[in-house]
Symmetry: C2
Subunit: 259 residues, 2 copies
DNA sequence: CGTCTGGTTGATACGACTCAAATTTGGTGG
DNA sequence: CCACCAAATTTGAGTCGTATCAACCAGACG
């Protein structure tokens, strides 16, 4: 009894990979585009939970595509403090173009155990050369990433601890929804309160208190690695959440592939 | 008696525009490359201090290049709070590729009166097609922008108010230095304490106190729109500043134009 | 069954905010 | 050149949000 009534209908067809689902929030892809994205998953790698995928100071080479699990980009201070600067979920790409820089200025760590695909620069160039629609969608994706970073700055700089936590949870929920990883009003949510603390610039203790308050207010429940949002609209208000930065409304529809 | 002894020697040649100086922190440009960058300044626009260049919700069209003055990207919350998410100084480009998005998710405001150049998408495409070295440098520049956003997240999330202010000032000083806008250990610094507050997520009152403390500690002086840093190394330590994110060490030198 | 990681609770401390007023600076027009 | 005004900075007193520290508890796992 858990048919995913909310995901895109997909009768019989092979399941679209998360990255395709995400890019289709921008423009409709052709079967050929999707197949090309499928083919990016040739060079797989598995990473254990809590290991680093790549560390500050190393030389960036391939692009990574998250297939399964959660990861985070983070930066650390000499005094040991850590800031998570973005969360990566299935369908997210990291380090497009990064070969231009000589060394990483931040690290990427696995939150859960991870399945990622390594994509060489050549592969990526071939993809964008042969699939201009995908190329455009990748630019859109990169711009959305940047917009998300800006929204996080707003979050850290101006929102109260309460709205800050609410905002983060809601963003993740919506991002997971676009890649088909929600069921109704809930989704897996493997980040620990410690991770949430590092992402919001709060302490784990305070995150815990905010989560309890949010729960008491009927805005969300987080338990056993599972998030449930009883009332999206109420949470949206509490978080002062404006979804415009996610640019999810098919802005590139003029490029849509004919069905 | 104000020969700028610290800028790149430039005997008799026409002065390099700020954007060229900046890109040359990545790779040495040819005379032709520089000339092409010069030609980007055909469509000029002047903006008064404290006016907006473009507002959230508007349709992004051209790319802007800051020629003179300071600007900032910012986002606001329904309750009126404002977060500056980046500061723009001469040589900075905004919204490369932004035409892909249908609407701006943030605004750009002038801090001082501003001279900017408007660059059409076609102009930009011609430039990158004809000047691959510049194209690479622009990619580098965009990556540095993103790295800077990440560093700001670290700043807001993990540094104390004291280091946070120190870090911001030092970053600006170094960025201005790469475009030749410092004289020795000082530079113009037109941002108000209010601007600094909005950029650091502090209140103006508290920024004021931190500046006084930094001054008392001999780390910097800010007065009459002018910044002076007596001891860069001491400030670097206090700010826990790691310059790696600015990627200023000619990482693309393998692409250098022959002199 | 014991260990470990993550979550929860309470008491206390402090960094940063708020509010309000005074002062200085910079710009403008007489 | 001075008088005036608005904007920016500075100061002080009091408060509040979030951090800190230290236990304790609950599941997950070997």
């Amino acid at each position: 009894m858990r048919t995913s009534t909310l995901s895109t209908p997909n009768n019989g067809a092979p399941p679209r990979p998360a990255v395709a689902l995400k890019l289709e929030a921008f423009t409709r892809l052709s079967g050929d585009d999707v197949a090309a994205l499928q083919r990016l998953t040739r060079n797989l790698r598995t990473i254990e939970a809590r290991r680093d995928l790549i560390r500050e100071g190393e030389v960036p080479v391939q692009t990574h595509l998250i297939l399964k699990g959660w990861a985070c980009r983070y930066k650390s201070l000499p005094d040991g403090k850590r800031q998570i600067v973005s969360l990566l979920v299935p369908g997210d790409l990291c380090d497009l173009n990064n070969h231009v820089l000589r060394e990483m200025d931040h690290s990427i760590g696995a939150i859960t155990s991870l399945k990622v695909s390594l994509i060489s620069r050549d592969e990526m160039e071939a993809l964008t050369a042969e699939h201009p629609r995908v190329a455009q969608a990748l630019i859109w994706d990169a711009l959305v990433d940047q917009a998300t970073q800006r929204e996080w700055l707003l979050n850290l700089g101006q929102r109260s601890a309460y709205s800050r936590v609410a905002h983060l949870m809601l963003e993740l929920f919506l991002r997971l929804r676009t890649v088909g990883l929600t069921i109704g009003q809930s989704c897996d949510f493997p980040a620990t309160q410690n991770d949430l603390a590092d992402a919001t610039g709060l302490t784990a203790v305070h995150v815990n208190r905010m989560l309890q308050e949010l729960r008491a207010d009927g805005l969300l429940e987080l338990e056993r690695r599972r998030l449930f949002i009883p009332d999206l609209e109420a949470l949206r208000t509490a978080a002062m959440f404006n979804p415009n930065y996610l640019h999810l409304d098919h802005e590139g529809r003029s490029l849509d592939a004919s069905v």
